[in-house]
Amino acid sequence: MTPRTVDRLVAGVYAAACFGAVLAPALAVRWAVFRSNISGVAGRDIVAASVAVGAAHAAVAWTRLRCEKRTAARRSHIWIASLNALVVLALSASLLVLGVLAAFADEHARFANLGLPVVVLWTGLQLVAVAMAEATGRLVFWWLEPHPAPHRACRWGVLPPARHLVRLPRLSWRAPVRPPVQAPVPAPVTVAAARPAATRAR
């Protein structure tokens, strides 16, 4: 496999992981419905909403990876940032739903009474989780990349500069290498300066 194919494969796996992280809480709720002998339709709206949000986010994540690949100073920066983004996505997609539904149960019930379908709330929470994950991914990537340097616009926002534009030394654990201090060079002795003053006057 060529490096290009490997990159695409890994990006695809990452996008699928993002999709799964968004879908997982909906599947957990759906499992409860399935186990409880309620009619088969119940809970499908939530799964459908999560599929839509998850698919959209997978596409965004895929595009972000491709975009970052063109601009990254080091390839590892992309994957480190993506791992952090995935952790934030997985935690927030599930914990937000659990926390908000459990802590504000009567408020949600009131909304449901007013005719606001719960799927709207669910979708909103998942979109917040996706936004948090995307922000984390971009922030970590930006933090890892060498800077300051002129930024340039990308299709999905402002990205760190391209590799060929970066001319800064790489950050290192070691102390920065300083150029050796050179001793002052004495001014060259010219013929005019070497001549006696009397001679010059004449």
């Binding site: 409860a32 419905v33 186990r35 409880s36 791992l83 952790v87 659990l98 009567d106 449901a112 890892l144």
Partner: protein, 319 residues
């Protein structure tokens, strides 16, 4: 690897492990167990007072652990309303835990008024055996205030009390601590002993939250086999209805008494089969009971209308 790369990748790895443990062992199982998604209330219009309670006949329903106000609770309530159309009942015995995720005074509409609206409008009466989620297991001031609110809003006379419907006497107990166990439990036990002794109806039904016998997640309540079970056997109690564990279970008669767990009002948890188990299933459900003369017929009904269990008990059977 520079310092930033080391920090970010370390954070990513630690986060992955933490997320895996948190989600896999905590959050996803909780989402699969709880009933957090708000549901739409049943909209059935029922004929008022369609039941027929006479000196030798009464029909009632028993429902436990239904206090979420979520979709699953609404599905069970909807099925109760549907069953009322065909086999009307004038009483619902609530087996505790009628309010989760908040206090009952705030959530009264969400967990009780809306789900039960068709039955309330039809004039069905509700009698409550308080549960551990209705207050703390050990009564604190806040817990007692919560119980007071429930008793007031449901018009329940006290933490433990008796009522009579047709040929059956009902005894509702407070099974929290101190209720039947621990310091201060003797008052209720003495009251139960006296009231059971003086009850002269053909059927005796005891309702409480914590099950004396259960094969579920919480299991049989420790101490009840010493304190409660001999007393129930001595007074020839026919049926004991309980909740707490979120499943349906019926025991073989134990000293003449059949113990039923009906805690699938809005959530489900797993259940095993033990020596005393006749039927057990992890499902949402409620129990419909029809007492006619010397025959009691119980039917456990799932939200989709299917029957999980049907049993018949003859009066004074096995005594």
């Amino acid at each position: 690897m520079n310092r930033r790369e080391f920090l970010a990748s370390g954070l990513g790895v630690v986060g992955t492990v933490a997320a895996g443990l948190t989600l896999g062992k905590g959050v996803w199982p909780l989402l699969a167990e709880e009933d957090l998604v708000p549901g739409e209330a049943p909209r059935a219009r029922l004929d008022p007072q369609a039941w027929d309670t006479t000196a030798d006949r009464v029909t009632f329903a028993a429902l436990g652990d239904n206090g979420s106000g979520g979709r699953q609770a609404m599905a069970v309530a909807d099925r109760m309303a549907e069953v009322y159309r065909d086999r009307p009942f004038g009483l619902v015995a609530l087996l505790g835990d009628i309010c989760y995720y908040g206090n009952f005074e705030d959530r009264y509409d969400d967990v009780f008024r809306r789900p039960m609206a068709p039955l309330i409008d039809a004039g069905v009466s509700f009698e409550l055996a308080i549960g551990n989620h209705d207050a703390d297991l050990h009564h604190s001031d806040e817990g007692l205030a919560e119980i007071e609110a429930e008793l007031r809003l449901l018009g329940t006379p006290g933490r433990y009390y008796a009522s009579t419907h047709g040929p059956a006497d009902f005894f509702y107990l407070d099974s929290s601590v101190p209720g039947l166990l621990g310091d201060g439990s003797s008052d209720q036990l003495e009251w139960l002993d006296d009231t059971l002794a003086s009850a002269d109806n053909q059927w005796k039904v005891v309702a409480l939250h914590h099950p004396p016998y259960s094969s579920g997640e919480h299991g049989s309540t420790p101490g009840f086999d010493e304190v409660l079970q001999p007393l129930l056997a001595r007074h020839h109690v026919d049926v004991v209805l309980a909740g707490h564990d979120h499943h349906y279970e019926r025991t073989h008669p134990i000293d003449g008494t059949t113990y039923v767990v009906s805690g699938g009002g809005c959530k489900t948890t797993g259940v095993a089969h033990r020596d005393f188990t006749a039927v057990a299933e992890s499902t949402l459900e409620f129990l419909h009971v029809d007492i006619h003369g010397d025959r009691l017929t119980g039917t456990c009904i799932r939200p989709d209308g299917s029957v999980a269990d049907r049993f018949t008990i003859r009066a004074r059977e096995g005594r």
